[in-house]
């Protein structure tokens, strides 16, 4: 089978724009490198991967193409996916679900409206399904009806909840939640926090304080700090991640709203720069719409348009 036939077959398998674009690039009369560059650039930038990471990815591909190490479409795609997977790989550590310290305290942070509260509901369900007991802490005492929202989730997945009045001190809620987890012998305490932009100094300080107060109950708690990122966000997510990392430290990322058309490519530079893994992705508003993150699958999705 000649190259062209092989190529066409490959194209059928991957019925998408990048394939078509690369096809023109590889078969057309235009300078190979340039056209490949342009197609890849479009796909990566439109996935919010960002200028820097895009350039880096493309450079090495173009180099390999020009050294004739990558000869067909499939090879190019495979190499790209491989690189993406590399970028998303983080040195071994226990998965959020498999951290068996007891009680495990999970503090959930992020900017406004990314999906923290919803994700907590889904996450609680995951732990419960494993046979663990869960308590939720309604420490978003600021946003209108945030407490009620978490309460509904607690009822839905059937777990305990600690709450104070709207407007009360979030640190006190966090403290009481962890205390309750200890005294009731509960496995996992998940603490919801109010959405806050990473640029608001006083609100970030408040998170710092929450952490401090929690550690007064259990020295190494919160053992997990989960940063929730919205896949529809662009380059700003990198600033978010860096700032939250600086103030609270981050152990896990959850990328929400991947059920839309946004790809959340900004996690590439984020995971690499922060060396923090993506634990789950959110793919809907229902309680089971949280799936473990698979870098390979994600890489595949990135190149499907």
């Amino acid at each position: 089978m000649g190259f062209l036939d092989k190529f066409k077959k490959g194209l059928k398998k991957t019925q998408n724009r990048i394939a078509e674009g690369l096809a023109t690039a590889l078969l057309g009369e235009k300078e190979i490198d340039d056209s490949i560059e342009e197609v890849l650039e479009e796909v990566l930038l439109e996935a919010d991967v960002g200028v820097e990471a895009t350039e880096e990815l493309i450079e090495s591909i173009v180099e390999k193409v020009s050294r004739r190490q990558l000869k067909d479409l499939q090879a190019v795609l495979n190499a790209l996916k491989g690189q993406v997977v590399d970028m998303l790989s983080v040195s071994e550590r226990s998965h959020l679900l498999e951290d068996n310290r007891k009680p495990l305290v999970v503090l959930v942070v992020g900017v406004n409206g990314v999906g923290k509260t919803t994700t907590i509901g889904k996450l609680a369900k995951k732990y419960i399904k494993m046979g663990k007991t869960v308590i939720l802490g309604a420490a978003d005492t600021f946003r209108a009806a945030a407490i009620e929202q978490l309460e509904i989730w607690a009822k839905k997945v059937n777990c305990d909840l600690v709450k104070h009045k709207e407007g009360s001190d979030p640190s006190a809620v966090a403290f009481d939640t962890v205390k309750a987890a200890v005294s009731r012998g509960i496995d996992v305490a998940i603490i919801d926090t109010a959405g806050r932009l990473h640029t608001k100094e006083n609100l970030m300080k408040q998170l710092e304080k929450m952490k401090r107060v929690i550690s007064k109950v259990i020295t190494d708690a919160p053992q997990r700090v989960v940063l929730v990122l919205d896949a529809t966000n662009g380059q700003n997510a990198l600033n978010q991640a860096k700032e939250f990392q600086k103030i609270t430290g981050i152990t896990d990322i959850i990328l929400t709203k991947l059920d839309g058309t946004a790809k959340g490519g900004i996690i590439l530079p984020i995971v690499r720069q922060l060396n923090v893994p993506v634990a789950f992705v959110g793919v809907g508003e229902k309680e089971d719409d949280l799936i473990p993150f698979d870098p390979e699958e994600y890489a595949r999705g990135l190149f499907e348009v």
């Binding site: 996935a47 209108a144 529809t232 662009g234 900004i266 508003e285």
Partner: protein, 450 residues
Amino acid sequence: MFDQLTDKLNNAFRKIKGVARITERNIEEPLREIRMALLEADVNYRIVKEFTSNVKEKALGADVSKALNPGQQFVKIVHEELVRVLGEKSEGLKLEPKKTNVIMMVGLQGSGKTTSSGKLALYLKKKGFFPILVPADVYRPAAIEQLKVVGKAVNAPVFDIGEDRNPISIAEKAVKEAMDKGFNVVIIDTAGRLHIDDELMKELKRIEEKVKPDEILFTVDAMTGQDAVKSAAAFDRELPLTGVVLTKLDGDARGGAALSVKYVTGKPIKFVGIGEKYDEFEQFYPDRMASRILGMGDVLSLIEKAEEVVDKKKAEALQKKIKKDQFTLEDFREQLLQLTKMGSMEKILGMIPGMSQIKNAKKMMDDKKIAHLIAIINSMTPEERRNHQIINGKRRKRIARGSGRPVQEVNQLLKQFVQMKKMMKQLSNPSFLGKMKNLKKLRNMNFPFQ
């Protein structure tokens, strides 16, 4: 982030500075930098392409002005083109007090619809309207409860949906009740949804057909990335959008999504959300947005932020003083005090274009320095504060002793004060060129710290 982008653009401009005219060749590099800046600001890839090619055409075809060098001219063209796309002027709502106006808030999940509904209600109340809020989000846990709390906070009634859980009939009933009870604006808060969710998009369409809204506002998060074009185009296809609300602009997102959304829908951005509180909501200014996207810092916002802290009356008085050149050391002290209230120096300096270029920026940002400046001013007599010109050598020594600071610092402060006085006067000149000129000056002086 501000700094990084400002630097890049400055570099690009520097490269064409000193050249007599903009040519096909020397425009390449600056165009590339603009392109990168726009991409980093989250303007959609394809729009960046189109936009830069438009800019190139205009720059090449532009008459070479005597007053500007090619660099300045290029900035001006890019800025103007951005403003042109974003909308020449800010547009308000088209409401009539004598009828029952219907506003529908739509958008993706978590974009800020419910909060913005409350903000709109407050805004319209201040304008003399009588709004009623309508909870048409029957899906998200506690969404109805949230709107009730919002309604209470802004002191606007919330339509009682009773047992009804059908968004279409809720909207219809609410409009009818508004007519009966004499509310002249009905604000419908719909559930967040994905533009690819056919069923929920149809639901919006049906509400629209039933209540024929006067305004359908697409609410979009300023942090949105490339995907903004897809969601905005889809909502625009399904519904006759009349405008856009850009939320969460109080962060450090460059907000390129604003350009994307405007580009694909052609609908004006009418309001921006600048905080979680209900009065943190204002008109959209294309000019400011253009500067922000370009990373030129936001002098106007800085001034506004200062005004906010100072409070309106004081700010107006200050402006008058600046205009009349009556700005005194007392005012300067007041300003320094306000600065300390505004937050960290780092952030404030970030809002001033070109600050990143100044060497020793870190050293200057020291908040202690401000305390020293204030101490020095405190050691002056009221008369000295009102008229700095009487502060001679002897007085300087006394002030230094009183404040426990070296005489050089007193001298420096006085020098800076005079410079600042000048600069502030110029900054109140609103023309773009004037602004550019002043930005350059600002950059060249160590305002207001040494």
